[in-house]
Symmetry: C2
Subunit: 112 residues, 2 copies
DNA sequence: TTGACATTTGCCTATATAGGCATATGATCC
DNA sequence: GGATCATATGCCTATATAGGCAAATGTCAA
């Protein structure tokens, strides 16, 4: 088997740093492709391909405007990622010591 | 260029569903490799390879115990993911907000 | 219709898997 | 040392990129 497609879900789509950068650029502001390319110092075809992935996963939408295409953000698809990682929040919000005692306590309970 | 390595960072590491499952299994409870393999209905070499990726990214640690190797979770590396996605929270909490006002509006209209 | 501009798509290469199977490496006990 | 159990690694195949460049598609204006 090979790696899952980048368009499989948000988890895979945002694994690419450039795609995360694009999403950040679109925060609260729609942008035209060439605009994004400029802001990223990347050539336009490359950006178009990343936008395609993001579009397929539903993280962005397109709004044709004359010969330009304005892209906008629909970050709702990021909620599963945020939610899933949130389930581990205790691992960084608590001190390492508390984490240790927590793990050990659970371990003791398991061993019983 | 090819896709970044799965060991490049947490973003790439958790793109794989099986690896997420492993992390979930290790929540608050250390486990031995064969234990994980059983719980996942997966053969042992495959699990070992996923564990290697997670180890390289630092999301899990190993604690040799006789001929077994006990794996534990260190989910601190997930914070960047949680934090980054958190920056988009308004995109889904806002939807809920809007849904609420929508519902209330409908209710008001129906009350009339 | 033709031309100019904006964006997408096709083609190509180098690089990486994920997982199955066989095998090597480690650790423990006799 | 030799047998045995637990894990890790090597090899192999099918499948996907990410990005560079060239070319196709789309859109508007004169």
């Amino acid at each position: 088997m090979a790696r899952a497609r980048t368009t499989a879900d948000a988890f895979n789509a945002i694994a690419e740093p450039h795609r995360r950068e694009i999403l950040t650029l679109l925060k609260g502001r729609e942008r035209v492709v060439s605009d994004i390319a400029d802001a990223m110092g990347m050539n336009q075809p490359a950006v178009s391909k990343h936008l395609r992935v993001l579009r397929e996963v539903g993280l962005v939408y397109v709004h044709p405007e004359g010969k330009q295409r304005r892209y906008g953000l629909d970050a709702r698809g990021l909620e599963p990622v945020h939610g899933w990682t949130g389930g581990f929040e205790e691992y960084w919000s608590e001190s390492l010591e508390r984490l240790n005692t927590y793990v050990k306590k659970r371990q003791r309970e398991e061993d019983r």
